[in-house]
Symmetry: none
């Protein structure tokens, strides 16, 4: 069937969410992940609105994306000026994106109250803004803001704004449910009217304020939309945007639309979790398709039935989106889970090998204690190698001590760390200062190891994330630390878990340095 | 307009969720809350499946519900017996509910594979089970399990099962999307067929596996359903059931159906949070209508607009469901956010007052240094009060020291903190241990302050997030710590930024305790 364009705005509308704030480096990594998933358009930001987004468009040019187009977002020109003199539009062109998406006003009420211009002027600035951009950028998408509310308030005017956009020769007209108040049964009649008015390909941009964003997007596709805007995990302002993690499998498995490949669809779950990690948010276990509970069955009738025929209580095969069936009474999940995970990291676990069972138990135990290996592939690989006996003994850690102090308000806080490690049969006892305890520990560890392994000088700590895990009954809450390190050629993530944040950080640091040694050995062959 | 029956199954289908288990006493309290909200039917459980549910039906008789009917759930009789001899059906009658709801098989595939009986036998046991119950119970509802999947597989047979139920004189036939795989655009044609086949009032029971449960329920109502089954907050197995907290406001405010009173609708948010509390789950802040972020605005453009006309970016007035508009402060935000924020804290910032400009500059400066005030409203309020000189002097911090150590691999890491604070002209120098440095600092700080401010004993630390911010040229990278604290009545967020994670945590901890003192003073008037 026909191809549907997937347009991701996690990096623009998604960052409007209360709890999400990406650094430019994060945005680049997210863009790479979206490209791997097979997303067609990546909306990187609004260069006119903040400097962080301008640098994103500069940085993304240095990245080779396999197929995704990079889109920049902005608005129609201001009143009483011309597009060539409008700063916002100039910045959009200077960002040199593959595609420009600008929004304009559809709702007469907004034109009068927000823009405070005449309805006629609004039609002009939609048309000349788009026409000007069309002459300077390869592809132009028009977001008709508040389309559905505008149509309900004044259908004729709402349709006129779309005609003004079509007259400018835009490549796609996107109907936005900006406030998320539209319900699915309203969509068919409205879209029929729109299709009778304009011939330009149509898109949908839905928000979740009525808990109908995914449904409205799919309804629009059923009514002829060929372009769907949304975010990973439904991140977005207020109640979020349409969730691409639910839309993509529906388009592929239920509508039969070819949007991404079967192989790419199998990576949906891990992609979803990676983006949660980057945003430092806890995944929603009940999330459709990709959540831990999405295919979890509680004992009884269901279980015996799904053993024989999964389709009796599962709307799709979980494997298709990289998820697994879980039976909660006797958790059969672990094994297949971890075999699948090992496969993701190219480690060949033979399920018949008795050693495999031991590794599985070990990993299940770690996961129960709060370890989490999405985003910590390096720690996972070290763990596997240890169990398989393919991890060379480079050094062993004995102990550490860190002192952080600040004696009076004006004084700059100081951190001093001492570590004891055993290298080549000798105990190295070193001390170092740093900006904070983790930095001090890092310095002390390197000091002890660099004389033996000079290549550790290349290792840099890029990111450090901490998550407090909810405490079980009567237990102290655990802390999980994820560290991203790298050298000139690559980057890797490591994890540590402890009820003590310093101890957890120490574990992740040690893994980070150890992985560097393993990796270099590998490459040396 | 017509009355829609609200049928809540939080206590039955809702408890199928992986993470939910209610005691009988909890179930009684939930039932009382549902009755107060105006729910028409409360499905209390499946007496045939477990003793806990049997005692619920015994206990609930002692409670005077204002209007809700209590429903008991079960299945059609087993094969090769008669209804009067079937244990499950006998138990249903013994539970003496106002209403009995039983499910039967619609999908021929299930009849053959799960029940392993002939299609004809299945029609008989649906009909005689319902007819028998109808003679012994006031009201009988029929749940057509897997109706939509069954209809797609074999429409004629699916419709025959409904006719068998209608022939028994049931009061309502509920079309179940048991696997949650149905999409809204499929519903109109199917329901048209159903309505052409049976005259019995129709209901809808949807699951959220396609993220369409709310949409499918509303679509069914648009197609003539008059009975809607769901759960509070969408609790339920796998991805959950249809969320009544999103369905009820849509029915009342968008369809104009009189299901509950305006006053009852205003209690929706509190009800939602109370049920989360009883289930010991953290509320979803992005939940439509009732979530903390449901009406939270971050973008500067949006904010200035909603100040003048809320309807520009809000699909309903939050007050109608007991929620409020919130304005977030962040790097995307303009002057208008900050002014609105001040207003929210009853702090009068006149945009012409030179002091306002100073505060704005101060905030911009702090944001450039890595501070982030969304999720840290408490720190933001303290900041404004300091600038305005309306912050009372409760205590001042002088210094701290933390020692974390682990002497050998087997040893459990330990943390000890000492702090010096000045309270009432006296210097308090205290020390304490803890699980990790932050916990130790927290203990030491309280130890120093609790004798002066006993109310600090109520403060709990709920969440702790750390973010490393990228280093500028020649500068150390900064660490941002966000802490969420709370007491019996409310929760608040504080932030600290430093190149030392312990120092940043210390700042956020101090703000958290200071805010508690300010808040209590406010309430004391």
């Amino acid at each position: 069937m026909s191809l549907i364009q997937l347009y991701d705005t996690t990096l623009r509308d998604g960052t409007q969410a209360e709890d999400i704030s990406f650094l430019v480096a994060d945005k680049i990594r997210v863009a790479e992940k979206l490209d791997e998933l097979g997303i067609h358009y990546i909306e990187g930001g609004w260069p006119g609105s903040n400097p962080k987004d301008i640098s994103f468009f500069r940085e993304i040019k240095k990245v080779r994306l396999t197929q995704a187009k990079v889109a920049a977002f902005g608005s129609t020109r201001r009143a009483k000026t011309t597009p060539d003199k409008d700063n916002n539009i100039r910045t959009l062109i200077q960002a040199e994106p593959d595609t420009v998406t600008i929004f304009g006003k559809t709702w007469d009420f907004h034109v009068r109250e927000a823009l405070r211009i005449s309805l006629e002027e609004n039609l002009e600035l939609i048309n000349d803004s788009l026409a000007y951009l069309k002459n300077h950028v390869g592809e132009v998408v028009y977001d008709a803001e508040h389309f559905f509310d505008g149509y309900k308030a004044n259908p004729d005017y709402a349709l006129q704004t779309l005609k003004a956009a079509e007259a400018a020769g835009v490549d796609c007209i996107v109907l936005c449910d900006t406030n998320g108040g539209t319900l699915p049964h309203e969509i068919p009649a409205i879209m029929e009217k729109v299709r009778a008015t304009v011939a330009t390909p149509l898109g949908i941009h839905a928000h979740n304020d009525s808990e109908c964003a995914v449904a409205n997007s799919l309804m629009a596709v059923a009514c002829g939309a060929v372009h769907v805007q949304g975010t990973i995990n439904g991140f977005g302002e207020r109640c979020g945007n349409a969730n691409l993690c639910s839309i993509i499998p529906a388009l592929k498995l239920k509508f039969g639309h070819e949007c991404i490949s079967d192989e790419q669809l199998k990576t949906l779950r891990i992609l979803s979790r990676t983006i949660y990690e980057m945003a430092n948010l806890i995944p929603n276990k009940h999330q459709p398709y990709v959540g831990n509970s999405a295919f979890a069955h509680k004992g009884g009738v269901h279980v015996s039935a799904i053993q024989r025929h999964p389709e009796t209580y599962e709307h799709i095969r979980p494997e298709l989106v990289g998820n697994v069936t879980r039976v909660l009474v006797s958790d059969l999940s672990g094994r297949s889970n971890i075999l699948a995970k090992a496969e993701q990291f190219n480690i060949n676990l033979d399920s018949k090998d008795p050693l495999t069972q031991e590794i599985l138990e070990n990993i299940k135990d770690l996961e129960n204690r709060g370890f989490q290996f999405e985003g910590a592939e390096a720690s996972f690989e070290l763990l596997m190698r240890r169990a398989l006996g393919t991890l060379r003994h480079y050094f062993s850690v004995i102990g550490f001590r860190v002192i952080d102090s600040k004696r009076h308000e004006e004084e700059k806080p100081s951190s001093e760390a001492t570590v004891q490690v055993k290298v080549g049969g000798r105990i190295e006892h070193t001390a170092a200062e740093g900006n904070g305890p983790v930095n001090a520990l890092d310095h002390a560890l390197r000091k002890a190891l660099e004389s033996f392994y000079p290549q550790l000088r290349d290792v840099r700590l890029f990111d450090y994330k901490v998550r407090v895990l909810p405490a079980g009954k009567g237990t102290a809450s655990m802390t999980r630390v994820l560290i991203e390190s790298g050298d000139k050629t690559s980057r890797w993530g490591t994890v540590g878990v402890s009820d003590n944040i310093i101890d957890a950080s120490y574990q992740a640091l040690v893994d980070a340095l150890l992985y560097k040694l393993v990796k270099d050995q590998e490459q040396a062959g």
